[in-house]
Symmetry: C2
Subunit: 148 residues, 2 copies
DNA sequence: TTGCCTGCAAATCCTTTGCACTTTT
DNA sequence: AAAAGTGCAAAGGATTTGCAGGCAA
């Protein structure tokens, strides 16, 4: 059920095949996302990309990410914090976000196969398992709450 | 598993008990949220509250909602659209948000009891079932995608 | 009276957009 | 050369904040 890992080359080919153009900026974004298992904010992405392409502009990053999302290469989530985070679609996982401390854990997307099937059958809703973000309390914050 | 319904009076008492003050603005916000099963944006809430308290300011609404959330009376979700939506915690349900058309369906929170238990056991994560928002495709948009 | 609450306006943060210029194809 | 991509700056929307005055306790 897990999508196969996507190489930087796969990304480049997908861009070209879709009729879009391959630029240094896109190569750099693909590179960063591929070499980072984390979920990055646009700001973090900009800083990272500038180590490769120093003159890249933030709005260009936004536009590249928009294109990558349309191509299904990238997904983003709102993890409670204000800014959205992005990562490659191949690294398919859900986020568990702690309401208190903001920490996040990742859960394999396959864990949502069952509920995805239920939602499809009962609500005709096709869950995007690349894009699940669940709120709650992490173990640590849970303890602190209970001590009160 | 469903939280008991919260009356406007319960809300007022919770505010007072917590040491916060009860104001007309808070009463109005409690009233609107209680009488609306929908999930409201701050803007919608402002318009609704102004029918009761014409001079209320938007930033006051934000501050009231912040307080209500801290007290556990209210929860908000980011339903993909830009603005967050708020509703009473007692009206416990998850949102299914269509990525294409933005439509939302509600699902009883109890549907997430099983996965909540799994997440707790395997990841020590306490899911907040009041705050689940899942992305995907609604039946209608699903059809359109397949026709392509 | 005390100090929490509010209105107002300005600030901030994240994201989008218009336009002229530069690349990719 | 044509079209897509980019930098820059400005606009946009959502949310937060500082401060002076107003109101609940």
């Amino acid at each position: 059920m897990q999508a196969p890992p996507i190489s930087v080359n796969d990304i480049i080919c997908t861009i070209r095949d879709s009729g879009h153009r391959v630029t240094n900026g896109k190569r750099a974004v693909a590179d960063i996302l591929h070499n980072s298992s984390a979920h990055l904010t646009v700001e973090e992405l900009v800083l990272a990309v500038r180590k490769i392409e120093p003159d890249i502009n933030q709005s260009t990053i936004y536009r590249i990410l928009e294109e990558f999302e349309e191509l299904g290469l990238v997904v983003h989530s709102h993890l409670g914090a204000s800014a959205a985070v992005y990562h490659l679609a191949g690294q398919s996982h859900a986020h568990l976000v702690c309401d208190r401390c903001g920490s996040t854990q990742e859960v394999p997307a396959s864990r949502f196969d069952l509920i995805a099937r239920e939602l499809l059958e009962e609500f005709s809703f096709t869950l995007d398992r690349h894009h699940v973000a669940l709120s709650g309390l992490c173990a640590h914050c849970r303890e602190n709450v209970e001590k009160k």
